[in-house]
Amino acid sequence: MPNLRKLKKLPKLDMNPMVDMAFLLVSFFMMTTTFKTDTPAEINLPDSHSKVKIPERNMATITVSKDGRIFFGIDNKFKRARMLDVISTQAEISFTEHQRNVFSLQNSFGTPLNQLGDFLEERALGNKVEQHGIPADSTQNELKKWLLASRISNPSLRYSIHADQEVPYPIIHDCIESLRDLNITRFNLITVGDDSPS
């Protein structure tokens, strides 16, 4: 009988250690976190044993998705806006102030120049847009124009290729040739570190 009565009483649990733990984890994640960047397509990076850290600022990234579409992006919001200005004077396409603002918020983009305006309008409405990639072949090399514009907007940019491991080589060749044409002879290939001991 006394046992039953005891059970009815609400058991008191000390939650403090759990809460301590939770806060510890929160602070840990807050310190160590690097946010997932919004990549336009899923990229399965190749492995390597390289241990070189990727610079955090002044980064220009050429992203190549598995199906061979090329995207381009630079890291600073203001530099992006300036890059668009350069491109619009060079290619003689005008953009509205609103489109310019939207462009400065895009991590990367992959549309041919003539579709960029429409793309920005769609993005302004928050829609996901199917992008066809920046043309980079020898007949019509828009990637080179963007590279040049990015160089003008930020001369200290460092370039890197962020490509899926299944991308056919000729597309990578186009990217490397575009970089070489602009005398960018030192760039990074982004890979996933392989932690296994070598």
Binding site: I54, V167, N188
Partner: protein, 172 residues
């Protein structure tokens, strides 16, 4: 008139003891639940938004394009010091030298390629590796090969295009 220092001190101590006893009497019970809720919310958010596999960069140096009006000033390399690696989708063709070489073929396996590079480095000092990716090879293979070269501390390599001779080899 200003009271002497001791009196001020006494007053202060007195006052404090009064306020302290007041605070003790009032039992402050703060509800911690919202704070803890928020902590867990943040915790889940950070756990979901974080990436752990940090990517690393692999530096690649390519030669600058020669200027049109510039005089070619290429440094010749001895043919015998070169190792050409033809990257195909499922196999690797390799040979030493350029004119009339002895052509070898191997499966695409990183251990085998590693062994090949190691023996070549020992046999030939000042080895120059020419990487010739074929159209059908992919980026992953190229990166893997460069990585193997880097690991073996082979500093001199170049990515070049397939010559006619190479294309003939591939078609055979």
């Amino acid at each position: 008139m200003i009271p002497p220092l001791e009196e001020i001190e006494v007053e202060r101590i007195h006052k404090r003891s009064v306020s302290d006893s007041k605070a003790e009497k009032r039992n402050v019970n703060v509800d911690m639940n919202p704070m803890v809720d928020l902590a867990f919310l943040l915790l889940t958010f950070f756990m979901l938004a974080t990436t752990f596999s940090k990517p690393f960069a692999m530096e690649l140096l390519v030669p600058a394009k020669p200027k049109e009006n510039a005089v070619e000033k290429e440094i010749p390399v001895k043919e015998s010091k070169t190792l050409s690696l033809l990257l195909l989708e499922d196999k690797l063709i390799w040979y030493n030298g350029i004119t009339d070489p002895e052509v070898n073929e191997m499966e695409y396996q990183s251990e085998k390629i590693d062994a090949l590079i190691k023996t070549q480095i020992i046999q030939i000092s000042g080895l120059v590796v020419l990487i010739k990716p074929h159209e059908k090879s992919n980026y992953g293979q190229l990166v893997q090969l460069i990585d193997l070269l880097n690991q073996n501390k082979s500093k001199r390599y170049a990515i070049t295009e397939c010559s006619n001779f190479d294309l003939k080899l591939i078609n055979e």
